[in-house]
């Protein structure tokens, strides 16, 4: 039973006089519990595909079904609810709120949940501990290193216990040791039942994932022959 079914998705960017077809006829199925890597050179459309899968960016054509729900047939608001419930997103630039501390950034998705304040705090603490930042709860994003910010972003994406995580180049700005720690964290989460889709262009990361799909010039392609 596939968790994600993508049919004939294409995406055209630009205005009326100059358009670029970023994605061309993408068909893809992802099963529950997979740890999927989306690989391709820069400009291949992998980030765009990820944002379309994550319900952030409507495609120009085609359908995206997640848990048999046609994501883009939902209204904007229902789509927001859907993201809140199903999806965690880790952005390439982390996108932390600059005026909130690490703990508050992690708690952010809970701000619209009706839970007691104390419970929210405990949950955020637990998640921060899980990503190894239990001692840096009160730091503001600009007081954290890139890797730490990345981990706060991951903590934020899992606090709501989503069934899917989308991560855009999560290891892109990390040194190899931190990158390894992060991938181990993803692996643990994956083993606990989380489906993860990760965009990367680093071949080393592929050792950790359960499946890799390749994208080039907006099309999914067969895996290139290893020379």
């Amino acid at each position: 039973m596939s968790l994600i079914k993508v049919a004939n998705v294409n995406k055209i960017l630009g205005n009326s006089d100059a358009t670029v077809e970023v994605l061309k006829g993408i068909n893809l199925k992802v099963d529950e519990g997979e740890f999927l890597a989306l690989m391709g050179p820069s400009g291949s459309g992998k980030s765009t595909l990820l944002s379309i899968l994550g319900g952030l960016n409507p495609p120009s054509g085609g359908t995206v079904l997640i848990d048999d729900i046609d994501v883009y047939s939902l209204s904007q608001e229902r789509r927001a609810d859907f993201r809140h419930e199903y999806i965690g997103f880790v952005f390439q630039q982390y996108h932390l709120i600059p005026y909130l501390t690490a703990l508050e950034n992690v708690m952010l998705p809970l701000a619209i949940n009706a839970l007691p304040s104390k419970q929210k705090k405990e949950m955020a603490h637990d998640v921060l501990k899980k990503v190894g930042l239990g001692d840096k709860c009160t730091r503001l994003p600009n007081q954290l290193s890139g890797g730490e910010q990345n981990r706060v972003a991951i903590a934020r994406s899992i606090i709501n216990e989503p069934s899917l995580i989308f991560a855009d180049e999560p290891t892109g700005s990390l040194d190899s040791k931190t990158a390894t720690e992060l991938l181990e964290l993803f692996q643990t989460l994956n083993r606990n039942g989380l489906t993860i889709i990760m965009v990367t262009h680093n071949k080393d990361n592929l050792d950790w994932v359960s499946r890799t799909i390749f994208i080039r010039d907006g099309r999914l392609i067969d895996p290139p022959k290893v020379a």
Binding site: P98, Y99, L140, N142, Q143
Partner: protein, 387 residues
């Protein structure tokens, strides 16, 4: 790529941000220009209205005044000298003739009506009603100009002679209709007289060119009243020309208060607009601290950064203030009269616009250079962390 191009590109790419920046400057400058212009016009309008509220200049023959005080006459002279109609033409020959707002000539005569001696005043009704704005008329309204066979009757005359509006009275052998009764004014001069058309009274008394006195309202906003009386005295030998100090003093008092209010309004508004322009540009540069850190990181000197920021702020404040000054001035010239309910025409005042634009431009530059300098002194890393 030149530095000014960076500034220009920044403005072009971040359109809504640039638009709001320019809009702030625009509003500030427009407000100041509009209000300064209209309040100046309003001040003049108030002064003109006060000047035309009753007369402030009296032209009398130079001899033959009665022994009279506060409307109570003790003794009349045995004969009086009279003026003639040429006085009116001569008044128009003075240098400041445009400052003569209302000229109300009068002829005094007496008549016996039902055995009572009554004062007849021949007047130019149009001018008279313009001058005596406090008259309340019964039987007619202020905007109806009585015709040559109609008269206005002072309240005391009406009560002594039992006159009603629309009644007919025989004066010196001619029938007149009472067009209206003037409600008591507290001035015996007005309450105890019958007003009729000047030409009619001149014919009736057989003195076709005669005048007894002239009341005038001079507009003193641009020319002091003493100057006007001096000019009149020069052109009108054989007359006594006096300025009525009682009206003048209260006029000055009132005009001063309007000026004071207008002045404080302008000061407050100018300060506020200056603050708005300053703070808007200052905060817009502060928000770019990260960007400035980036420029520093790639090796820009402080002078380069100052140049970029100044080019941008200068352009924003120049465009905003020029547009604002034009908008404010056009609004004032186009709708100021109607909005402020004034009659004075509001003219374009290029100097106000130049001052406003100059001030806004300088303030814009000063306001943006300080935070830019501060930001460029930070280490690039620190600047990049700025939220």
């Amino acid at each position: 790529m030149r530095l000014s191009q960076i500034a220009l590109e920044n403005l072009r790419r971040r359109q809504s941000r640039s638009f709001l920046l320019i809009l702030s400057v625009f509003i500030g400058v427009m407000a100041v220009v509009f209000l300064l212009t209209t309040t100046t016009a309003m001040k003049k309008d108030v002064a003109d209205k006060l000047d035309q509220y009753g007369s402030n200049i009296l032209i009398l023959p130079d001899t033959g005044e009665a022994l009279t005080f506060g409307g109570i006459t003790v003794e009349a002279p045995t004969q009086i000298k009279e003026l003639d109609m040429s006085v009116l033409d001569k008044m128009q020959t003075i240098q400041n003739k445009d400052n003569l707002g209302t000229i109300a000539p009068k002829l005094l005569a007496d008549a016996q009506i039902n055995g009572q001696d009554v004062l007849l005043l021949g007047v130019n009704f149009q001018q008279e009603l313009k001058l005596k704005k406090w008259w309340k008329l019964i039987g007619t309204d202020r905007f109806h100009i009585p015709t040559s066979d109609q008269i206005l009757v002072g309240s005391d005359v009406a009560s002594v002679l039992h006159l009603q509006p629309a009644q007919t009275v025989n004066i010196k052998g001619q029938n007149f209709h009472v067009a209206g009764i003037i409600q008591p004014t507290g001035s015996l001069d007005t309450d105890q007289a019958i007003y009729m058309n000047l030409a009619t009274l001149q014919t009736l008394t057989n003195q076709p060119q005669a005048l007894s006195l002239v009341e005038a309202a001079a507009l003193c906003y641009t020319c002091p009243i003493d100057e006007i009386t001096r000019q009149l005295t020069e052109k009108l030998p054989g007359t006594k020309i006096t300025a009525l100090r009682a009206t003048l003093q209260s006029r000055d008092d009132t005009v001063n208060r309007f000026s004071l209010f207008a002045w404080s309004l302008s000061v407050i508004l100018s300060l506020a607009s200056a603050l708005v322009v300053t703070l808007t540009l200052k905060s817009s540069v502060e928000e770019r601290t990260r960007e400035i850190g980036l420029f520093r990181a790639i090796g820009f000197r402080r002078l380069h950064i100052a140049w970029i920021v100044l080019a941008e702020a200068g352009l924003v404040s120049l465009v905003g203030s020029v547009a604002g000054a034009f908008a404010g001035m056009s609004l004032a010239a186009g709708f100021g009269n109607a909005l402020a309910k004034i009659q004075v025409r509001i003219a374009w005042q290029p100097n106000v616009m130049i001052y406003a634009v100059g001030t806004a431009f300088l303030l814009g530059l000063l306001a943006s250079i300080y935070p830019a300098w501060k930001a460029s002194r930070l280490d690039p890393v620190e600047a990049l962390r700025y939220i």
